[in-house]
Symmetry: C2
Subunit: 892 residues, 2 copies
């Protein structure tokens, strides 16, 4: 590679140059190298893009020179000349970044057309309508992308001319009509922009390159990168390629296909094409295309050639490919190949199948499945036992079932989604501008577009159910409703969509819990052989525990005892305990709670027999169990106003007094965790006794149980020292009373910065540490999650103050540094210290990778994240072997 | 020293053995070595005490043997034998720890008396009344200390016998009366304890030693240690010494004296004595003693001998001494010497005088003044210009003026003190049981007791004003009032006491701000020459700034702009800004605030001309400026109940909606600090503009000003990067508009754990760091100060979970570790980084010492703490030179 070189011919590059040439460019080069039918072209590098921004958004003279040199060679290769009045060269100018960002950046096709070349094209193709259609498409794209003229301005002119000619489809316009459209476009551009549409193809080319560079930083690209955790400083390359035309008549066409089914993973050519169309028509989902197999009927030799190329590419790249092609007058061209995006189910099946086929190794297979995505496989499905009549049926574009109220607008979807409502976004088709609505919705339903339409691709990427091309539904945006036959569904009414079958149902349909598929189980089995981290689950109920074990959990990392307190039948007892005036009164309430808690522990420990169960003693501040202060105050004021004086008022006044006394300015930093245990040791003693008595019961049943008693919110070793003493004392008493000896350990949550900094001293009193990264993130950042996520965190992500939400992805630089410090000091003080994590990060792949590198013994996460964690833990090992800290994001 | 040796004769020890022998024992040994008249004795070591606790509170056989061996030698030295029926040896058994804990532990005098020896004592002294009085005192002390029999049981018997004999003073009892008292005591002891009072002097001795050991852990000793930050594991020694008797008649007596005035520091013998009394009578404050000078009249040769000994001891110990003495039949004995406790004023004067006298060096002088205590010198005094008629006059026992409501009971004092009320504790005398009340009170007034009474000593130690021995007031506990002449003052009524003059006034008297005395100024001048840390002040107003400069502040380390926002005339503008619906509305409110803030900055910067001023931009969450949510809700509910429908209701409803929207679960961790600046940059821009325009105004006046703009609550470098860009932009605009160039720096508070952990990256964007240790302590511990101090922190201190309140004394192990990490990473990234502290710890001596060692450039504290900080900063340098991390606590 030449250091300063900023433009590469396809024939000069290869697949390894993705960083420099972008994914699309590198693969075009690679395919050229493989001798596949790729129209010739060149790539302006991502380096050039970064230069462009560094120079203040201008193209350097050197770059322009390089571009024109490459253009010369392209002209030589094609034997055509840009701007020539005879058989002129036309170009496609497309973006192509390191990571694929489909539809996010800009593209200009048919570049090089002007008043002269349009005529040359007409005579070269013998098709003036075609030439004029190409020209008006070019003016529209260039006008939109380079000159920033609203799309609707073009639409208007087209519709006016169509009205003049009284036609309903643009295809029916006569050649004069097209000429009028072109003229109308050019006049409008002049009027809107104050300058004429450029005639000079060189000027067109340079402006198009600039516009593609600029599109790297358009709003939707920025949002997409944030969503997909793609760095902002990679830049995009620009692919300049000789145009081929899929819209030269019925012996031409264009399409996209996957080498395997991206939804199920089945080994079958899977895709769609449109006769007489340009590529954007397929992707945009405006016309519903034909399945790829239909090509076998119309052009069998082309179909066979394409199938062979697909096989070649899959073998060459050793992974499923997503291929764009165009047929120009019965000649096949490959315009792009890339590793195909797929659903989690497909990813799993393809990886496992390809291992069987000898295409890739188990390790590669493990790395090929996006751990973040596999949780989808565990989403709910429609109960197959339910007898249901679908309202309509569309394409099964992204699997899984979703239930929600109908909305017709991305903004409304976002608004309601933020309020916690579940919505289904229903659109004729979606565009990149709808992304925020898709993010907010439970699922997507479109009336147009195929399996590779925007909605389908994006929904699969996000793991959201999608039914596309459901042409039976007629959407009326004006009345905010859609109609199916005689049935009218209005905004807000509930529907269920099943992205696995394509069915749409009215109302909420019964769903069932998913199970692990055979392939997925096999993959996770391989993961289990590779990973070092153990995977536990956070579960407070026997049902959750059972589910998690089914998913492979090796223990419970966090059993929250307060969730048991909140249950309806216990809350009055808990309140009685809190409102107690004396220790004796409190003890009496605790005596009633003891058998209830003991029963809880018997159940959960029995469910987890043979596996460790970490039980955290009471954590939340007591006022969480009492009524709302403001509401009580209002109630009392009103009772008084009404002249009330009875016992009811006095009771409420007493309650308010108590609520006030317990109220805190910052409950998150208040009287909770072990601070409660120190102030009200009788509460903790009751819990420890309940655990120990449960253990005795189970031992008598002949079961092996491994309880680990966890003290929350320790910041100073003295807190743990005291609490440990109390636990051992109570445990000893139960042993003495029952004559049964049992083993248990005592450890602590590490969830305060001080605990991390002084972990060495704390470890002296702990059998284990479990990082509570939710609270640790709150205190390390000084962020109250409840407040931050509703107030300033969205702004922080928006303005890129933070690279991501630290409550979702562990902040390695800050929180992670404290964790490493704690692990190392803790182990130094007590080498056998068991160390895990039980914050939500324990189920997030990048955080799991960090936990692996930090030397933790286990991660613990919600039951549905257990398979995610098993896979991510294996990936962490494989990446470490490769010397990579983290998996690259998304496929390219 | 012999490793295993647990008992030392006085003649075997010296002053350097304080750790082992306790302060009292080591000094008795030293005085013995100096040839001073010390009754012979021996010391059971602190090691023996620790052994005692380790062994489960028993005396080992080895120890008993050592005690009896020492006793043998003592008998040889005195020629008397314990328990002998002829001229028997009597012993005093006294506690003596490393740090003096006056009155906290137990003492037993006259040990060795029984039915036989009491008669021997009677014939040896020829005074049977004396012998019986000694015996009944011994029974009482032993009964109280060893056998735990309530004091009142003895009092009752004494009063019964006195009634029988119809006498009003015990001195008037005839010899048979005393015999009856003794008999009555012994019967009562038998009845109460179920065992006879021990006759065996050896048993008495061992039990007394055990009782003294046990008193190390009595409640008041524990409280005292906590208050004085004395470690719990030091243990106490026991001093066993031949008795001498100050109560052998009018040619006997006992007293205590300081070699200089402990209240003012004047060089004069200062003390008191009582004829015909035992030591406890003076200290307990039950009889009002005579001034020491009176001894010159009654026994001039003894007075001269004593004066000479005082001089010897002061020269020997090179510091002011507090000496206990007894005269037995015209023979002087010295029973104790120790470095005398003194008021801050006296400490300063003595230190400065002793430098002048050549007794100690400047460095020693600096180390001798307790930095924590000197703030007292800056407490308010009664305005000398006020014409006042005192209600009564007592002894000026501890200087300073205090105003408060009268209370008569330590518990009431504590209760009201905790509610924030200012109280004066009024007692006939105080005892160690009253300590919690003294802590809670503003000042102490007693009707009995001298300058060395319990109240006086304790109050001086705490720097609280005290008037003692104010005999004009007649206290009636039953009616909770006191009377002076005809005037009756009831509980709760306000009085003012002046501990400098001894005056007591009715009502609240005008007070004036204090100034630095000449000596104090001189001492601080020496401190300034020694210290490396700069001392700044936290000041929000020109008046505070002026005061601080007077006290030596070298700049402002924290000027909080929000305090300006809370002022009455600005609050409506601030609320208008907050309630603004649009940025334009907000801007309009800000435009009105701008000139107001600019005026503030002009004033404060002018006051601090030539010195740096760190101005922190808005920090608190916006809802702090709005009305209370609950109150509003109640108000609205009531308005509605009353059928109100007007604009007033709507306005309130709107306000409530806004208050609710801004309300936070954990405001401490919420939308505040730079999070506000990022969300509402227009607010910060206004503040920056106000600062810059103020700077321009002052530059035009020809003044030099050094503003430092501080961004609060930064946790991620990107926050600071953005805010810094904004500040520089706004500053640049003001320069451009005014054509005036000026210098300023931009830095950040470091008050979040994440900021400490990532300080290197933050430093890239900061000219300075200022540790906000209040918030840093909150987040590092996960303690909300507002909640913790009212809820669990008292319990934590009580149960010794924490050694001290981390909001008062910096937690070096946790918070300090983060600070060190931040300083080192910050300086590594930016070597010229200026680093200071502006939390409250910046005025606390031990925390200042830490800041010195951590390499900070300055500390900043409240104006009245500036002299404290100047002294503490110098002490930190001196201690570092000596290789000590911290000043030992208190004097010994």
């Amino acid at each position: 590679m030449n250091e300063g070189k900023k433009v590469y011919l396809f024939s000069e590059g290869n697949a390894g140059m993705k960083k420099l040439l972008g994914g699309k460019g590198a693969n075009l080069a690679e395919m050229t190298r493989l001798g596949l039918p790729v129209p010739p072209g060149f790539v302006v590098t991502t380096e050039a893009c970064n230069d462009y921004y560094r120079q203040g958004e201008v193209l350097t003279e050197e770059l322009k020179k390089e571009i024109f040199t490459a253009l010369e060679k392209l002209q030589e290769a094609t034997g055509k000349k840009l701007g020539a009045d005879d058989n002129p060269l036309l170009l496609s100018v497309r973006s192509g970044a390191y990571f694929s960002m489909p539809g996010m950046m800009d593209t200009i096709l048919n570049l090089g057309l002007n008043e002269v070349t349009v005529e040359a094209l007409a005579s070269a193709t013998g098709n003036r309508v075609f030439a004029l259609d190409c020209y008006r498409r070019f003016i529209q794209m260039y006008g939109d992308v380079v000159m920033k003229i609203e799309h609707s301005n073009f639409e208007e002119i087209l519709h006016e001319v169509m009205a003049d000619y009284k036609v309903h489809k643009s295809q029916e316009l006569p050649v004069e009509g097209w000429a009028k459209v072109v003229a109308g476009y050019k006049q409008m551009v002049m009027a809107k922009s104050g300058e004429p549409f450029p005639e000079d193809p060189a000027e067109q080319l340079l402006n198009a390159v600039k516009a593609v560079f600029a599109s790297w930083n358009n709003q939707r690209a920025i949002v997409y990168r944030r969503l997909n955790q793609i760095p902002d400083d990679l830049g995009t390359a620009v692919n300049v390629q000789a145009m081929v035309f899929g819209n030269l008549g019925e012996d031409s066409g264009t399409g996209v296909a996957f080498t395997r089914n991206p939804s199920t993973g089945e080994k079958e050519l899977y895709g769609e094409y449109l006769f007489n169309a340009q590529g954007e028509d397929v992707v945009a989902g405006i016309r519903t295309p034909l399945p790829i197999a239909a090509l076998n009927d119309s052009m069998p030799e082309i179909y066979q050639q394409f199938k062979a190329i697909c096989h070649t590419l899959e073998q060459h790249y050793r992974d499923m490919q997503d291929i764009e092609f165009t047929i120009e007058k019965k000649k096949l061209y490959i315009l792009q190949t890339r590793t195909g995006k797929r659903t989690a189910a497909a990813a799993v099946k393809i990886a496992v199948d390809q291992v069987a086929e000898g295409i890739c190794s188990r390790e590669e297979a493990l790395l090929r499945v996006d751990a973040n995505q596999v949780e989808q496989l565990l989403h709910h499905q429609i109960d197959p036992a339910a007898k249901l009549e679908p309202l309509a049926k569309g394409l099964p574009a992204s699997p899984g079932a979703a239930v929600g109220g109908v909305v017709f607008d991305a903004n409304v979807a976002q608004e309601r989604g933020e309020r916690g409502e579940k919505v289904i976004l229903v659109r004729a088709e979606t565009t990149p501008d709808d992304i925020h609505g898709i993010v907010a919705a439970q699922g997507i339903l479109t009336s147009r577009g195929g399996m590779t339409s925007h909605a389908a691709v994006v929904a699969r990427g996000m793991g959201k159910p999608c039914v596309s091309g459901c042409e039976a539904i007629k959407i009326d945006y004006a009345t905010r409703s859609f109609q199916v036959g005689e049935c009218v569904i209005k905004e807000g009414e509930i529907i269920t969509i099943d992205g696995s079958s394509g069915n749409v149902f009215f109302g909420e349909v019964p769903l069932i819990s998913p199970r692990l598929s055979g392939e997925f189980n096999r993959l996770l089995g391989w993961a289990d052989e590779v990973r070092r981290l153990k995977v536990r689950t956070n579960a407070d109920t026997p049902a959750d525990a059972r589910k998690a074990v089914e998913f492979g959990a090796e223990g419970i990392g966090l059993c929250r005892t307060e969730h048991m307190f909140f249950e309806q039948d216990r809350l009055p007892l808990v309140q009685e305990m809190i409102l107690a005036e004396t220790t004796a009164e409190r003890q009496s309430a605790l005596d009633k709670l003891l058998p209830v808690q003991e029963g809880d522990f018997v159940q959960i420990l029995r469910e987890m027999k043979g596996k460790p169960v970490t039980i955290r003693l009471l954590d939340p501040p007591l006022h969480e169990f009492l009524p709302n202060q403001e509401e009580l105050a209002v109630e009392i004021a009103l009772l008084k106003e009404r002249g009330e004086k009875g016992v009811a008022l006095q009771d409420k006044e007493y309650l308010l007094k108590k609520v006030r006394a317990l109220a805190e300015f910052n409950p998150m930093l208040g009287h909770r965790g072990c601070r409660l245990g120190l102030a009200f040791p009788e509460i903790y003693r009751m819990q420890v006794r309940a655990i120990c008595q449960a253990v005795v019961t189970l031992i008598k049943e002949g079961l092996e149980v491994f309880p680990e008693i966890m003290i929350p919110l320790v910041g100073h070793y003295r807190e743990l020292e005291e609490m440990r003493r109390m636990v051992l004392e109570e445990g000893g008493q139960v042993m003495a009373e029952t004559g049964v000896r049992f083993n248990y350990t005592v450890g602590t949550m590490i969830e305060l910065p001080r605990a991390c900094v002084t972990a060495g001293r704390i470890a002296e009193h702990a059998d284990f540490f479990s990082f509570g990264t939710n609270d640790l993130t709150q205190t390390t950042f000084g962020f109250s999650r409840d407040d931050a996520e509703g107030k300033f965190l969205p702004l922080y992500l928006e303005q890129k103050i933070l690279p991501e939400n630290p409550f979702v992805v562990l902040d390695q630089e800050g929180v992670g540094a404290l964790i490493k410090q704690a692990v190392s000091a803790g182990r130094a003080a007590r080498p056998e210290l068991k160390v895990g994590i039980c914050g939500e990060h324990g189920g997030e792949p990048r955080s799991i990778s960090f936990c692996h590198r930090a030397g933790l013994d286990y991660v613990s996460c919600s039951p549905f994240r257990v398979p995610v964690a098993r896979l991510a833990a294996a990936q962490a090992v494989l990446l470490e072997r490769e010397g990579n800290a983290e998996l690259s994001r998304g496929s390219v």
